[in-house]
Symmetry: C2
Subunit: 327 residues, 2 copies
């Protein structure tokens, strides 16, 4: 296991060493805003997934790096815009871009990062047909992320959101990027069509499990370790899987305690603790955990298309890391 | 001349017929917001320029159309975000996207339109090397537009902006898109390298002249014909060429009258009329007009690389249309 984590760390370092120097702009304030989140680190899950999948089907890091960087830039562009849209003021333990530079520069620096991502994409050295597939996928991915964000915002105004609607939103907002991280890695690495499709599905399922788990961290994680406030989803009435399930299935005192804090910006610490306890006792947390782990298990099955390799082992390990983490 | 305007109208119709059906999204509110400006029309200057330049070097409309649509989508994405950043509430005689759908959906629908533009770009059928050049140019173009927008916003907070700084801003914010409209058209049409470079410069110079002229319309145009309020640049203290020149060169009563309205949100109708009169009497308007027309004339000289054709005549005609229009 030690060796696997070292192999992941090497790829995180590769991304870290290259991402910030790749972000150049003629206007200093814009460049600073564009670099603010990428400098702060982050887990680099998406670029690492592209690199490891590529290697697992016979590719190498050098050839896949521009694609990995394009993914990470795009991820960071969506974070800048999402934090502004969602009025989140903290990210990775630092003030959000729109808090530090204002809303206009946040919009603008996100746009510039997104534009820059396509310049990285243009450095991917593959045949023309594969290149066009990657470009189309990338475009679909970002449009899908915007659609997912839109659904997420619309859900806050809807009386009832079904589990099915929640899953469509999560698939778009989060899973698409893992799906195309894995698919793009497989395409650039020269995988067979069967491997490309299986890796695409691996990323999709893992992405859904990851988001369900991520939402659970907002309920149960340690605030300091997470680097951002915990419980804001409950206060904001956000439709997470645990909340959707709780709204449908809690009853009696549990329902009452949950509703006292859910969607209530003025909820006290006690209200919040009561809501979390109700979700635990009533089974909402357990249900969401079970679902997240089920997606994780299904994603592992897809790895059967890969020949044995250290990278295959990493992709197996990554599933447990992403859907069983504490921060 | 009748025949030329008909040829332009045919290409505007080609863009109009194809742009809205090309904008599809799974989430209805997002799709509506994405289509709001494209449906309302606009002059379609950028896509028409790409189509006409392509034909002028031997290409055809069918092959160039996806690129033309990608340009128009990108232009509309920047309008959505710019209107939000600049707090402009009217566009093409209609309420701005952020006014109708809110700020979050405005950010999001702009992002989605931008993503979609790259899907159109992927439909351009050219060789791989040319394709990569087009993609890189497109990425540089959009990042440059963001840099220009950033400079434009920064200028409002600066005590003094020189004419040189103003020109850098205009080149990025406006001229880049005309530059790459013309260059992309020439590349897709199969022009020689000399033609590609000359068309790139033609678009750049014309774009600068266009923006200087466009800023003059905000001072002198008829409000109803323009479809948006006139004079807001003066009230907002925006750095236009006429204003930069006025700040540097007006004196006495003209200077006083200009400063009474410039950057003053509470300026009365009389203050505004006084400022415009001062810019006219003091020579600021005449100076900006002269500069715009000089860029226009220089852009015409670049057309020498083209063999005689109806399309060449259109490109000549377009210069006068863009830099001598009243709306």
């Amino acid at each position: 296991m030690m060796e696997l984590t070292d192999m992941i760390k090497d790829r995180i370092k590769l991304v870290n060493d290259n991402i910030v120097p790749s972000i150049q702009a003629d206007v200093p304030a814009l460049q600073d805003a564009m670099r603010h989140y990428p400098v702060a680190g982050g887990k680099r899950l998406r670029p690492v997934m592209a690199l490891v999948v590529s290697a697992a089907v016979g590719g190498n890091d050098e050839k896949t790096l521009p694609y990995a960087l394009a993914l990470e830039m795009t991820h960071n562009f969506t974070l800048i815009h999402d934090d502004l849209m969602d009025h989140d003021s903290l990210r990775r333990g630092r003030k959000a871009v729109h808090v530090l530079w204002g809303e206009a520069t946040a919009i603008n620096s996100g746009d510039a990062l997104f534009a820059l991502a396509f310049r990285l994409l243009a450095k991917v050295e593959v045949g023309h047909a594969v290149f066009l597939e990657i470009l189309e996928d990338f475009s679909r991915m970002v449009q899908g992320i915007a659609e997912g964000q839109q659904l997420d915002m619309d859900f806050e105004k809807m009386k009832k959101v079904t589990e099915e609607e929640y899953l469509i939103m999560v698939e778009k907002k989060t899973a698409l990027m893992f799906q195309y991280a894995a698919k793009g890695g497989a395409l650039i690495g020269g995988g067979t069509r069967q491997q490309v499709e299986a890796m695409s599905e691996y990323g999709r399922l893992l992405g859904i499990g990851f988001q369900i788990w991520d939402d659970l961290l907002d309920i149960e994680a340690d605030e300091e370790a997470l680097g951002k406030p915990v419980g804001s989803d409950i206060k904001n009435g956000k439709r997470t899987l645990a909340a959707v399930w709780a709204l449908e299935n809690l009853d009696g005192a549990n329902k009452e305690a949950f509703l006292k804090a859910y969607g209530n910006q003025n909820a006290t610490k006690e209200d919040m603790a009561g809501a979390v306890e109700a979700m635990q006792k009533g089974g909402a947390i357990a249900y969401a955990k079970k679902q997240a782990l089920a997606y994780a298990e299904k994603s592992k099955e897809l790895l059967g298309v890969l020949s044995p390799s250290k990278e295959k082992d990493i992709l197996l390990y990554v599933v447990d890391y992403m859907v069983n983490r504490e921060t």
